[in-house]
């Protein structure tokens, strides 16, 4: 299975950290909770790892571990994205009901 050499893996690792820092530091404090639950769902990619080990398992212990990993990973992915969407849906420039008399001017929040 070792088709990825260590140096390449470490390069990817380091560059990902740099990209992450660059992208995340631009997120306004207003959105920190959705950011957190959104990045939470991103680490749900672990479900792919769980699927790969389920494919390689041929013992009862292996099946049990793969099953637990599948449950955890799927819960992470589905729950994370759904709850993030639920939160972000609430962020509106204007209230849903009634009209505001004052100017709801959009300020660049970067």
């Amino acid at each position: 299975m070792n088709n990825l050499d260590l140096l390449t893996a470490i390069t990817v690792f380091v560059l990902s950290v740099l990209v992450g820092v660059e992208v995340i530091s631009k997120v306004p404090a207003t959105l920190h909770t959705p950011l957190m639950s959104g990045s939470n769902s991103v680490h749900g990619i672990v479900v792919i790892g769980a699927m790969l080990i389920a494919a390689e398992s041929h013992t009862w212990l292996g099946y049990v571990l793969a099953f637990a990993a599948m449950v955890f990973g799927a819960m992470n992915v589905v729950g994370g994205y759904v709850v993030t969407d639920r939160m972000l849906e609430m962020f509106k420039a204007r209230p849903a009901t009634g009209k505001s008399t004052s100017d709801a001017r959009e300020k660049a929040e970067v």
Binding site: N2, A9, V12, S16, V17, V19, V21, V23, I24, S25, P28, A29, T30, L31, H32, T33, L35, M36, G38, S39, V42, H43, I45, V47, I48, G49, A50, M51, I53, A54, A55, E56, S57, T59, Y63, L65, A66, F67, A68, A69, M70, V71, F72, G73, A74, M75, N76, V77, V78, G79, V82, D85, M87, L88, M90, P95, T101, E106, E109, V110
Partner: protein
């Protein structure tokens, strides 16, 4: 690598790129929802591609398919249920729970990989080192996040829990940790090393989070989020999947940045928080009921007149508002004032709430437009122009004493509430905040104290303001 495997890995690469784009779109409330959709869509494609890859490789048994499908369905159903039903005040618990399962899954992958290998000893450090780190970080995150969720939910005591020998344990555990990790790296086929390391890591997660107080939870959740990301990245090293490495490290940087921001907002070092400090109990002491002589007590009618005749009002919400479930009353009051022509905005301190940005979500749920939610640096210069600053359930973050050296909160960034033309504080009593010190804002001559419960007080204010603005 054959064609299918190649194709699948290109799909994974696209997925990773979409995660970055999705996170990038999070930089504005207007585009954030689209960002989440991009990220979710990419994840769905990646999962479908993995099914294709697994089917193509053909090493999976029928039981394996059954495990894969049933586990996936059960997990998805649980996640969906939790995400739909959770209250916005309980969001930190849910995020903590998702940290736990993510870390747990990553640890299980490494355990399984080491157990399934025909000759673990032949794997070499290339697999056993990230494997051991994955198990350590994943298991610590799993048990630590569960304890954190328990504390937030109130199942586990929110107060720092000290037990005899805790200090000794905290010295011994990291040592046995290091020893176990080295042992497993050198002898990946040793079951004793494997299970021993899992056990020590789980125990360490518990003893790490138990002594941390409720007020420090925003830092702890962010830190555990960073841990989960690292665990997933390590699982990527074990399985040779770059997608896991990229996604894991994106999350890890996010968690790291938030941890740093939260710690800065409390003017404390991360080490100081983990070791345990003043972040004590979850509820403000209610022992000292009533107002001492030097504070000015005001009634709902007094405050309503002030608000109705103001041209600019700044609300300063704290966790007390969320604890009283009064954010909807506040939103309604703001709407009445806005309709009356008053300029209303919200000053949100970075640590207002139980996780980074929590207060913003609670206010957004109460239909407050995000253009009215102001960050500390943005709103502080506006306080001198504010006719009234209304503080609801916030304490230490408004205490001017933080500007002077020599006290528990010296140097902590605060909201300049005391610079407003007048101040009204809604509070049940003169009880202290987490830092356990007197708030000078309350004894300021221009401050009026409205002693009541946040929800009841805001309802009274709504009624009284309604009389004025008709």
């Amino acid at each position: 690598m054959d064609n299918v495997s190649n194709a699948v890995h290109y799909i994974f690469l696209t997925t990773a790129a979409c995660f970055v784009i999705g996170l990038h779109l999070m930089n504005h409330p207007r585009t954030a929802r689209r960002g989440n959709t991009v990220s979710a869509g990419a994840m769905a494609v990646a999962i479908a591609a993995t099914v294709w890859l697994v089917a193509h490789e053909g090493t999976i048994s029928t039981t394996g398919w059954l495990v894969l499908a049933s586990g996936g369905l059960i997990g998805a159903a649980l996640g969906l249920y939790a995400a739909r039903e959770v209250k916005m005040t309980a969001m930190p618990q849910l995020v903590s729970l998702f940290n736990a399962v993510g870390g747990g899954a990553a640890a299980l992958i490494a355990v399984n990989d080491l157990l399934q290998a025909d000759h673990p000893a032949a794997l070499g450090a290339r697999v056993s080192l990230p494997g051991a780190l994955d198990i350590v970080i994943g298991a610590v995150t799993f048990s630590g996040s569960l304890i954190a969720a328990g504390k937030l939910q109130g199942v586990v005591s929110g107060a720092p829990v000290a037990f005899p020998g805790a200090r000794l344990l905290n010295v011994l555990l990291p040592a046995s940790f290091a020893a176990g990790t080295v042992w497993l790296v050198l002898a990946p086929d040793s079951l004793v090393a494997l299970y021993g390391l899992v056990a020590v890591a789980l125990l360490f997660g518990v003893t790490m989070v138990l002594p941390i107080g409720g007020a420090d939870m925003p830092v702890v959740i962010a830190l555990l989020n960073a841990f989960t990301g690292s665990a997933v990245a390590m699982a990527g090293f074990v399985l040779d999947e770059t997608a896991l490495i990229i996604a894991g490290m994106l999350v890890s940087s996010s968690g790291g940045i938030l941890t740093k921001l939260m710690a800065d907002a409390m003017n404390r070092s991360i080490a100081n928080i983990v070791v345990g400090g003043f972040g004590t109990g979850d509820s403000a002491p209610a022992a000292e009921e009533g107002a001492p002589a030097q504070v000015r007590s005001v009634s709902a009618d007094d405050v309503a007149i002030q608000l109705a005749y103001a041209s600019k009002v700044i609300f300063v919400p704290g966790y007390g508002l969320a604890a009283a479930q009064a954010q909807h009353e506040l939103g309604d009051l703001a709407k009445m004032l806005t309709d009356h022509g008053v300029d209303v905005s919200y000053a949100v301190h970075p640590v207002a709430g139980r996780m980074p940005g929590h207060m913003n979500v609670l206010l957004a749920e109460a239909n407050v437009p995000y253009t009215r939610l102001k960050e500390m640096d943005e709103v502080n210069p506006e306080f001198p122009q504010a006719d009234v600053a209304l503080v609801i359930g916030a304490n230490d973050v408004t205490n001017p004493i933080a500007r002077r050296p020599g006290n528990a909160i010296s140097g902590m960034p605060i909201l300049d509430v005391d610079r407003a033309k007048s101040v009204v504080v809604i509070k049940r009593s003169m009880g202290h905040g987490y830092a356990g010190i007197d708030n000078e804002l309350y004894t300021d001559p221009k401050t009026g104290m409205f002693f009541t419960d946040a929800k009841k007080g805001l309802a009274e204010l709504k009624a009284a303001v309604g009389e004025f603005v008709g």
